[in-house]
Symmetry: C2
Subunit: 119 residues, 2 copies
Amino acid sequence: MVKYDDELDAIFMALSHPARRAMLARLGEGEATVGELAQPLDMSLPAVTKHLKVMEKARLISRSRNAQWRPCRREEAPLITASIWIEEQRKVWESRLDRLEDYLHVMEQEEGSNDGQAR
Amino acid sequence: MVKYDDELDAIFMALSHPARRAMLARLGEGEATVGELAQPLDMSLPAVTKHLKVMEKARLISRSRNAQWRPCRREEAPLITASIWIEEQRKVWESRLDRLEDYLHVMEQEEGSNDGQAR
DNA sequence: GGGTAAATTAACCATATGGTTAAATACGAC
DNA sequence: GTCGTATTTAACCATATGGTTAATTTACCC
């Protein structure tokens, strides 16, 4: 059974759109209003609002209020969560490579063997 | 203007589905056939084929042939690409924290003013 | 209160995503 | 060639995603 993980779903999904990555990058420099985030992004304000909702759901950003502005701030945790998942995967991959050499030695020693299954 | 990046789009999109992450994790242990990947995943073979296409497009996996089997292998590069992007973002975030004190001073000054446009 | 600016919501539309079942393909074995 | 197994393709469907414009909300200013 799949180990279902809503959190990673939402985080990676949020990171998969270039406009959202651009906004995150902009927010790396500090808080910004919706208008400021929208300005370089060839799309309407409502579209930007939707992207912000996606990122908010993934907790990549949080919002506050300042008069009629709703400044956005980037949150670190989801990026760490994503990074950890990726590095876990890479770790497994690396350790598999470490075992490859041993495996090949075993193969060499079993010269006579003829099992043609997947490899 | 948005710096458009098809590659990251495809990678993060591919990582955003739990079934695909499960398959990648399984592939971390070594090559597997479509049937082997499908077995723990409560869904039909055609659905699995589609997920594999998504991952192949993102270059997260590559395929070979062995009789009627099409074994899948995980590729490392896209995970590295994704990891680098994330760590870049975190780096910016960290350096922004270094500047936090200055930033708070600016905030204080803006609190008082009434035409307070955030910038 | 009325005017203006920032942002969101509503309504709508096109396309993508994620799934299904049934049919087709690819390949080895007989 | 026929049979059986692995996988893909085709056709279809429901819902999600990403965008639009128009209307609405929120808050400051006069």
